[in-house]
């Protein structure tokens, strides 16, 4: 926590982001922690001297910002048209059942966050799943299972040592 707060403060002090708009700060913070801690909102507002209510409105309006901490691994499933007609809904169903969470939420063990995104522009290769920034195209429910298994295995390894 202590670390997070001093880091947020550094970001807040960063002049380059300035020009009175809170969004660049939020993007920076979101990028760093993958969510916006309440402290971040408060500090940014105090620094820029703008009402907290405005910051909160912005933070809840844009989907790029999340107020809840995200899981260790982020899964984005493209719901673009091309991916849709190529079966991304089935894919989503499968992952939702596998992970036991609905899209947009994080598993209880804080390991996975399942999210949907509107078109990543790799339509030719749909359905697309992006895991921790790494694209994998032409996904099928079967493939997705394999993907999950791989990650789980690496996780177990980590825990062992």
């Amino acid at each position: 926590m202590q670390k997070i707060i001093s880091e947020i403060n550094e970001i807040v002090q960063d002049e380059a982001l300035g020009k009175g708009s809170i969004i660049p700060y939020f993007e920076e913070i979101q990028g760093r922690f993958r969510y916006l801690p309440p402290e971040a909102l408060i500090l940014v507002c105090e620094h820029l001297n703008i009402p907290l209510s405005q910051a909160y409105a912005v933070a809840t309006f844009y989907h790029a910002f999340s107020l809840r901490p995200k899981g260790k691994h982020c899964m984005n499933i493209c719901m673009g048209t091309a991916c849709h007609v190529r079966g991304s809904p089935q894919l989503l169903d499968r992952l939702e059942t596998k992970l036991g969470v609905k899209a947009g939420s994080t598993t209880r063990d804080k390991l996975f966050t399942l999210e949907t995104v509107n078109c990543l522009g790799a339509c030719a290769l749909g359905p697309i799943v992006v895991i921790d920034g790494e694209y994998s195209g032409q996904m099928t429910p079967q493939k997705s299972d394999a993907l999950l298994r791989r990650i789980m295995r690496s996780e177990e390894k980590e825990q062992r040592g």
Binding site: L41, P51, L52, S53, Q54, Y56, A57, T60, F61
Partner: protein, 238 residues
Amino acid sequence: MIHLTIDDKSIEATAGRTLLEACRENGIQIPTLCYHPALEPYGACRLCVVEIYKEEQSSRLVAACAYPCEEGLNVKTNSKAVQRNRRVVAELLLASGYDTPEIVALASEFGVKEARYKMPQADSCIICGLCVRACKEIVGISAISLINRGINKKVSPPFEETSPTCIGCGTCVLICPTGYIKLRDVFGSHSIYRYSSDYDRAQCRICSDLNMSSKFNQLIEGVTSDAASYGISGDQNG
């Protein structure tokens, strides 16, 4: 001066007036919901739509509260199209507020008795944004804002907790057309300690300072009772 025709009446308006203002100046009534003279036009409720005809263009509907008067503009404030549209909008309002007397009354004004679609849960807030804008533009505090997006939009203080900046002036309550908003929703504590306790700590709900905690209260009682004696002029001279 700008010359335009509203409901076949030729009307003069000073530059920069909105159609709504021009209409009201000339005694033409237009229903409004999210409009308030003391606030910037918002154009969200769409009840004030009027039909405008520009030369060589097909007619279209615009929100009178925000559309500026234009030279030679021809405006119909109550045409078939306008009525149809208002009915649908009223029905949509009713769709979410079907259990709020104010909204039901409003809808019936447009001849809407029943909404063909009903939202899963009824809610008397119609996101007209009056309270939020009043808090920002009139009070200048911005204690509340419209949070979330789309159908989940709602009025709330930051973090959906009690507001840290609300001064409890009640303007939002006063301006709310449906009686949705209550002062206690936004009243809050100023304190920057964010810890809860099982104590029933009496805390000033406006300024939040702990000056209202029981002991302090007693102190004050003492002071007041001494001091108040000065209040009665009679007491001094006799």
